[in-house]
Amino acid sequence: MSQLPRDVPASHYQSAAQRRLQRTRVDAPYRPGDPILRGLNLTKRFLMGTAPVYAVRQTTLEIKPGEFVLVVGPSGCGKTTLLNLLGGLDRPTFGEVVLEGQPYSKLDENGLARLRRNKVGFVFQFFNLLTDLTAEENVMLPMQLVGLSPAKTRARAAELLAAVGMAERAAHSPFELSGGEQQRIAVARALANSPTVVLADEPTGNLDRKSGTEIIGLFRRLNREFHQTFVVVSHDLSFTEHADRVVHMEDGQIVKVEAKTA
């Protein structure tokens, strides 16, 4: 994170492509094939005492349907903050996030909660499974929140647990699972409501190399088999081979975007 001089124009930090993106109308109706998730001119400012500190600076990013995007960069470069803004976990100081044509700024807190419930799946570095619940109940929770019937909830949870290879551990408490297993449960939970996009914040950060590779492999498989969109934040550059696009961040800004050609 760094301080942004107040007298420097925004254009100073932006590429031509980013400036073009910013001219996109945020309230344009969503059409199939359009980017499903757009972060436009995002800036997030925190105060450290009285000094403003910019975690993300005038950053613009678009995610296309079915894309596997990896956001990489050193610690403290603003990757997690960017992901939080894209997922509606935090509000930008400036800028706009649009998911399937829905600008976040037009939603109140409850509206944002409903949007997260229905359209966004999260995978966290520390798994964040609810320890009061079993693995199966953790996966069922998002579906219960949208009001899916108990029978369908249970059936779908079983299906998701099987998809991540955890069917036999359904009745276990998170305490009884290894880190890699917990992260698999977290992935199943993120997929529960068929989200538009899954946002993963350092999903391998708390895992050993083998488990981390397995989790990224799982993401890739789900991405290919079910056309599930993923945005994964990681500081580990070894995962770049799995991504369709790699976004490099430094100092709160996107400095390079590498797109793989099919």
Partner: protein, 421 residues
Amino acid sequence: MSAMAAAGERAPGGRLVASWRRVAGLILPLSWRGVRRRKAGAALTALSLALGVATFLLFGGYFAATRQAVEGRIEPLALPADLVVAVGVDSPGGVPGGLPGGGPAGAPSIVQTLNRLPDVKTATGMVVGTAYTSVGRRRIIGLDEKVLGGLKLGAGAPPMTAGEVLLPQTLAAAGGIKVGSQITIATDMGGVWREQKFSVSGLYQGDDFFSGPLARREALAPLGLGPVDNAALVEAYPGSSRPGVASQIRSLYRDSADVLIPEFPASLAGSWLGQAFSPGNVAVFMVFTFSGLGVMNVLLLSFLQRKRQMGVFKALGMDDSDLKQLFFGEGLYVAAAGAALGMVLTAVLVALLGRLTSVRFIISGWLAAWALVLSFAVFALAAWLPAVLCQRASVSVLLQNKRIYLDPKTSCAECGRCGGF
């Protein structure tokens, strides 16, 4: 993964049914798990509330029993009046050594003034003083012949001469006095005792603490209590409120009037119990306040220890009402446990105190219902702060276990001097 499409399908039923299903099927079980996970803390919290409930029930039960006992001992004063007013007994021209207070006196002025009050039907002059009898201190009242003649008597006849007196039946029974007995009544005239012998002409019903000997007005002159009228019997119009009339009279004579209503002790007990700052109410209030603060502290700490979990709930899409229900659900379980425990504790204490002492308790269904209402109200208030804090904090703040401020959107969070939560 074909079932992914199933997420869009909702359970059947209306909005209310869906809401109830959500609370019963998801929120309350989550609350229950939260309570179960902190068994020791929840048990201590429930115990503190149980003490509050038991204190409330014991105080309430004791006062109810006391009130019933007081009311059970009181019979209406057998005077043809709604109020007895004693005014200015220490004033010049009045009678010293009687009732407290001072001020103007005089039969014409008192009776005439009272008769002008809108709710007063008639005011009749009389003399009131303090009489010392063999069974204790009572008020002696001097009445007009006409008023004495209108009394309902249990035995004998109204006093026909200045040497005759009527006594309350229970006072007579306590002293072994019968119709025709001779009694001596004394009054204290500033350290000098005056005594006079009376013959008991009859007995009347009435046993509250100001029921005493009734005589003809002129009979009290030798006792130093006449002939100046220092009091009046007041009859209110039907439909008028006696406390209302009493209030009018008190406002007329400020501190110098002593207004008595026939069922005075019962109403006194009732009003004392009803006063917001009576000792019992203050004790109950304090117990509930302290247990409420303790409960709030426990719920707040429990929330602060689970910031990350709350962040996950919010990230998964729980909205404000879900979070409120989650906290109130936890409060509900502990309140129910505390109330039940408090009832059991009360039952044990009532049985124990009943066996060891003569103290009686009357714990009615209403009292128990009030205890329940109070305990749930305490928990609703206690759950409010953590629920509000949780609602206001952003998901990322909760997930990162950062400090929370009551108003995170304004300078409150930027100032941060209070340290937040």
